[in-house]
């Protein structure tokens, strides 16, 4: 059941230069699944006008968490919210990641971690995580990730002694010769494009996509992406799609 509700902010913590973790109280009746998102209303004023979509990073009893990067004016305003402020949000919306039967591969590009963390936590010790960031200090939740994954590989674009240097899809290709496990991925468009090249036709590969949104409920047709069967809505037909469906 998705809902429109006002939630009290438990914390809105700055983790890196531009990444924040927002934790809000959530009513008990809110149920969510990994891969779903909420729309967060930024203010009661008319500018900015539209709510912004954010993946559910984690959802434990009575608390929903969002991990977000400050990109523009909406997220900048979001970063000014304080503990005990109230925020209006709606959701959870969208198709979740089909549940993995056994072990699975997760590929997270940067802030894309926000979409897959909850999945790995829900199915602990079963994910082979490939996590790509630009530089070492952008690696988030290292300890928690070690805890919930089966194996974890990190790539950085900048040189770093402990990580693979390069883009994450290269790392996947290298470390994961046997690509028969299902893949769950979220990251920037360039990563998804690379991934599409890597993935075989027979491979199960779910990716979370992004598009600007207005309604979030499938009504406005504003958030479509191109698929083999024509335009589909990220908010309701997605955000999780089988990569083979997408024309990236």
């Amino acid at each position: 059941m998705n809902k429109l509700f006002r939630a009290k902010i438990i914390k809105n913590e700055q983790l890196t230069k531009d990444i924040y973790l927002l934790c809000v109280e959530s009513p008990d009746e809110i149920q969510s699944k990994p891969g779903q998102f909420c729309l967060l209303k930024l203010n009661q004023r008319l500018d900015p006008l539209l709510s912004r979509p954010f993946s559910i990073f984690d959802h434990v009893s009575g608390e929903i968490k969002f991990l977000y990067r400050v990109k523009g004016k909406g997220t900048r305003i979001l970063s000014t919210f304080k503990k005990d402020d109230y925020i209006t949000l709606s959701g959870p919306f969208g198709r979740w990641y089909p549940f993995p039967q056994g072990d699975f591969i997760v590929i997270a590009g940067g802030i894309g971690l926000a979409s897959v963390y909850y999945l790995m936590k829900r199915f602990p010790k079963r994910a082979y995580l490939f996590y790509g960031v630009r530089e070492e200090r952008e690696i988030l939740f290292y300890d928690e990730l070690r805890e919930i994954t089966k194996e974890m590989y990190i790539s950085t674009e900048m040189e770093c002694p402990y990580t693979y240097k390069g883009i994450v899809t290269e790392l996947v290709k290298e470390k994961c010769k046997n690509l028969s496990l299902p893949i769950y991925a979220c990251g920037p468009m360039v990563m998804l494009k690379e991934l599409k090249k890597v993935v075989k036709e027979s491979q199960v590969c779910y990716v979370a996509t992004e598009e600007r949104m207005a309604c979030g409920v499938g009504a406005c047709l504003g958030c479509v992406i191109e698929t083999k069967e024509g335009f589909k809505r990220v908010c309701t037909d997605g955000p999780v799609f089988d990569i083979r469906e997408l024309l990236l």
């Binding site: 429109l4 008319l46 709606s90 207005a214 009504a219 406005c220």
Partner: protein
Amino acid sequence: MIPSLEVKIGNLTFKNPVLTASGTFGYGLEYSQFVDLNLLGGVVVKGLSLRPKQGNPPPRIYETACGMINSIGLQNIGFEAFKNEKLPFLRKYKTNIIVNFFGENLDEYIEIAYLLDSLEDVHALEMNVSCPNKTTEWRKMGLEPELLRKAVKEVRAVTKKTLIVKLSPQVTDIALMAKICEDEGADAVSLINTIPAMVIDIKTRKSMLGTPTGGLSGPAIKPIALRAVWETVQAVKIPVIGIGGIVSAEDALQFLIVGAKAIQIGTANFINPRATVEIIEGIKQFLIEENIKDINELIGSFIQ
């Protein structure tokens, strides 16, 4: 004492003057999780054409100052799918169902109007004469008086249902366009549709949308819409339905006071999925505070 919110348009009765605007409320069902559709004066569904339509390439929306610009390009599921997949669900609600429709050319307008006329559960038709992409001559019908006259006349001839013509704001004299609709037998006019607009990305030098231009909606355009409605109300006797940037009961009341018989809520649904019902509640409160028993006393009470 609970004031009466009932208004009439053509021979249709609306339990209140608050409808949804086409394209912003899907087929109603999408919002039924947030809003009890039975409470609405009416639901205007997404613009329908004979055949399904793909619409424009993404990105399709961009936020602007107190507004948004869209280039959906009238994507829709087409008449058959609407009839078979949406209408059976929508008909269960006690609200007026209004189908917004359009065609690539006049023949298509006539054909879909004719087909819609036969659907018992459709209460009114809203003819969208303001298509953003002017690919054919007929697509200019919202901008050229003589094209509009012919189009309304021919559509009128094929349907007995309440016919509302939805006007484009991109004309010098919108009241004149409304007058033409009245002359040709339309039961009402609704206005305004989105205003052609543009936003570009200074880095890429390209449009922020998949098309160069789109349509502007939201609070930014409200003062323009209100003026257009007022001008129109003074020129025609048929009801005028006000649309454009309404986000609060206060906004809605402004339109009613200048003379709109009803109003439609568009972009506001995105900002607050419960906007429609909150606006109905706000209008009711205002009538109680001002001791007005019947909303029709308020309508057109503007003092110049």
